[in-house]
Amino acid sequence: MTEIKESFPIKGTHCASCVRVTERALKKVPGVTEAVVNLATEKATVTYDSDSCTREQLADAVTKIGYRLELEEKGEELAQAEKQKELQLLRNKVILSLFLGGLILWGSFPGLMNTAPPLLHNFWLQLLLAIPVQFWAGSEFYKTAISAFKHRTSNMDTLVALGTTVAFVYSAFITIFPQAFMNLGVEIMPYFDVATIVIGLILLGRYFEAKAKAGTSGAIKKLIGLQAKTARVLRSSSVIPNKAQESQTTQSLKHHSGARSFHVGRDDKYVEIDIPIDQVEIGDILRVRPGEKIPVDGEIIEGESSVDESMISGESIPVDKTKGDKVIGATINKSGTFIYKAMKVGSDTLLAQIIKLVEQAQGSKAPIQRLADTVSSYFVPIVIMLAFATFGIWYIFGAEPVFLYAMLNTVAVLIIACPCAMGLATPTAIMVGTGKGAENGILIKDAESLETANKIDTVVFDKTGTLTKGKPEVTDVIRIKNHESSIKDEKGLLRFAASIEKGSEHSLAEAIVKKAEESKLVLSTVEGFNAIAGYGVKGIIGSKNVHFGNKRLMEREEIKIHKQVQDDIEKLENEGKTVMLLAVDKKLFGLIAVADTIKDTAKESVAVLKKKGIDVVMITGDNQRTANTIAIKVGIEKVFAEILPQEKEEIVKKLQGLESGIMIHDSRPHVVAFVGDGINDAPALATADIGIAIGTGTDVAIEAADITLINKDLRSVASVIELSQKTMRTIKLNLFWAFGYNIILIPVAMGLFYPFFHILLNPIFASVAMASSSISVVANSLLLKRVNLAKIKE
C-alpha cells in the first residue's frame, strides 16, 4: 500500500453544501482514506492509496457530481487563456462593427455616399446593419451601464451607452417615422454611422489598450516564466520498487545527510528522478547539469560551476560557485555539474519572494494618484450633466437646425469624455517602473517608495558591509612588550582574542577567529560572555577577566592606555585600519588591527550620485581616522564616525530635520536615503525616507527597507533615483495629458468655440480622440521600458 496526500484545485464549489457533497464523493472512491475540501482556497486535499486508485478516478468522481477537480494547477495559465478568449471576442466585435459601420458610413457620409451602391443609401438597410453593432458588439456597454445604474454609479460605459443610444434611437425614429420629422422641419438624415463607427472605434481602442496593458505587467510574467518546471532529485535506488511509484514513495537522500559520494544509474547507489518542481522538499539532494536551470534555492555539496544569475540580479557576469556556496533557483548553470541540497522551496525561494514583492508593489497606490482618484469619482456624473446642458443650450440658443446640432453635440460630449486615461495614468507607469527595477535586481516595496525616491537629496551609506565588503582581515597583531603576562607572543594574544570573539556575530570577530583558525590555534573556553554593542566583548577565560574591543571600551572600563600604544593605534588608524585592544584583568596586553576592503563599485557609485547633485554621507561605528581614510578613498567628504548602532537612526532623523541640531552643512531638512546591509541598521533603514538594503540581507532588513538591491551593486542607488525620476516624469506627463485632454476637448465638443471659430466636433472624431487618449497614456508608460539603467551606472 502506498499512501499519498495530494492537493488538487476544485472548481464550481460555492457553498458549504458543495464542500460536503464533494468530500463525500471523493471518500467513496475505493482507496481514499481522507478528503478535505477548502472552500476558501478551492482546493481538495486527498489522502489515497495509489495502488488502489488513480488521480483520474478522483477527477471522474468529482465530475460526476457536477464540479471539477483539476489534475494540474493552471493558475496564471488559466487566467491567460481566459484573457485570450476575451481578446478574441473583442477582436471579432471590432471587425464586425467597423465593417458594418464602414458600409453605413459609405452609404451616408456626404461626399462619400455618391460613390456607394444605391442599396447602401437605403435607411432601412442601414438600420438593419446597425442593429447587430448596437446590440451585440455594444452589448457590454449596456450590461455594465445598466448594472452600474442599479448601484447608482457610472463609468465610461455609461457615457458610451448613452451617447450611441441617443444617435441610434434618433436615427431609428427618423427611419421609421420620417413623416413626423418632416412635419417638424427636421431633415431626414439618420446617423447610424455615428452610432456604429463610435462603437467600433471605442472597442478598437479597448483592444489596443488591452494589448498594451498586458505589456505593463510583462515583468511579472517574465519572472514567473523563469521558474524551472522540474527538478532532478537523487534518490536511494534500494527503496525504489518500480518506476510508477518513483515520484511518490522513494526515500529521499535527505535522510542520508552524511553521504558524500554519489553514483548515478539504476545499478548504483542512487538514481536520478525528474519530479515536478512543487514536489521538491527541503533537504532533497538535486543534480544540475551544464545549461540547466537550477530548480530551487540551496547549497552546493559537491562539484563546481559558474552560474548565470543575471535573471535575478541583473549582473551579466556569471558567478563561480563551489562546495558550500549558495545557489538561487531559476538561475542557469553554465559550465560544470554539481549536486546541491535544497534549502528553500515553494514560496520561500528568492524568486517567489521577488515575485511577491513586485506584485505587491504593482498593487500599491502612489500618493500622486490621489488627485486623479478624486476627480474620476465625480467625472462621469459631471459629464452627463454637461451633456444635458449642451443639449438645452444648443436647442435654445444654437444655430439651425437646432435639434440636430443639439443632438450631435450632446453625443460628442458623451463620447469624447475619457475617464479611463486618468485612471490608467499612474498605475501603468508604476507597473512598468517597478517591473523595470526588478529586471535590474532592484526590488521596490511599493509605489510610494518609488515616488519618494524621486525627491532624495541625501544618501547616507553605512560603511561596514555596504561601502566595504564587510569581510575584514587581520593585518597586525601587536603584543605590548615588557609586560608581565601569561601571553608570551603574538599567537597567544590572537588565541585570547579569538577565544573571546568566537561567540560574537560581529564581522570583525569573524576575521579574528578566521586568522586563529589559519594559525591552527586551540581556542579556550569562555564563561560569562557578553557583547557590548558599539564597544566590544567581555568574558572570563580560565580565571581571568578579559575585555576585547575598541578604545572606548577601555575608557569605559578605566583601563590605562600608554603613550606608545596610543601612537601605535593612531598610526594604524591613519592607515584605515580598525584597532581592537585586549585587556586581561584590566591591564592592556596588546592590540589587533583589522582592515576591510572597499567594494569595487563604491567609488563609482559615490561619483555618480555627486554628479546628480546628491549629498553623500558616510556613517560608521569606526573611529574618525579609520572612517576618514575610507571616506577619502571612496570620495565622501561628510562622515559621521564612532556612531553606535542605535545612534544611526538619530543621525538620519537629524538630517531629515525631524530633530533639532541638524549636523549637515546646511540647515534645511533633507529627503534621506539610508543604504545599509540590514545588519544592525534596520531602525535607520525604517526611519529614512527611503531605506535601501544591499543584497538579500536579512528578513528584517527586507521588511524594514523600501528598496532592496538584490544585485548588490552600489551603483544601483543612482539607478533607483533615476528610475524614480523617469517614472514620475511619465506619470506627470500622463496626468497632464489625461486632464488636459478632457479640459480642452469637452468644451470643444460642447461647441463653446463655435461662436468664435465655427468649430464643432463630429462624434466620430470624438470617438477617435477618446480611444487614442487611453492608448497614448499606456503607450507612454511603456516607453519606460526603454530606460537603460545600466547606462546610468556609467
Binding site: E82, G363, D373, I393, P427
Partner: protein
Amino acid sequence: MEIDKLFIALFSLGGIAFTYWFFLMKPEEKAIEVKNNTIDVIVEGGYSPNVISIPKGKPTTINFFRKDPSSCLEEVVLGDFKIRKYLPLNQKVSITLTPQKIGEFDYTCGMNMFHGEIIVERS
C-alpha cells in the same frame, strides 16, 4: 420663450438635477459583516455587496466573482493591502486579507471608476 424651448430647458435642468441627486447624493450603504471569515463579492457594474466589514487581525477571504464583461472591471485593486488581481470573467478569484489596522479602506477597479469599501473593525 417658445413652448418647445421651455420644455427642453426644463428637460435639461431636470436631467442635471436628477444626475446630481442620483449619482452624487447616493446614501451611504450599510456594511455587510463577514461571517465565517469568507464573503462572496459579485463584480457586475460595481461590487455587491459594496461595503463589507471584516475583523482586525483575522484572515478573511473575499471571493470576487466577475460577471461583467467590461474591461474596466477586469482588475480589482486593494491599494492599502498592496493587492492588484486580474479577475477572469465568470470565475471566482479569492483574496485573503489579515488586516492589522482598524479603518475604512477603499478598493477600486483597475481604472479607478468603480469603488468598494472594506471596513476593518475590532474583532
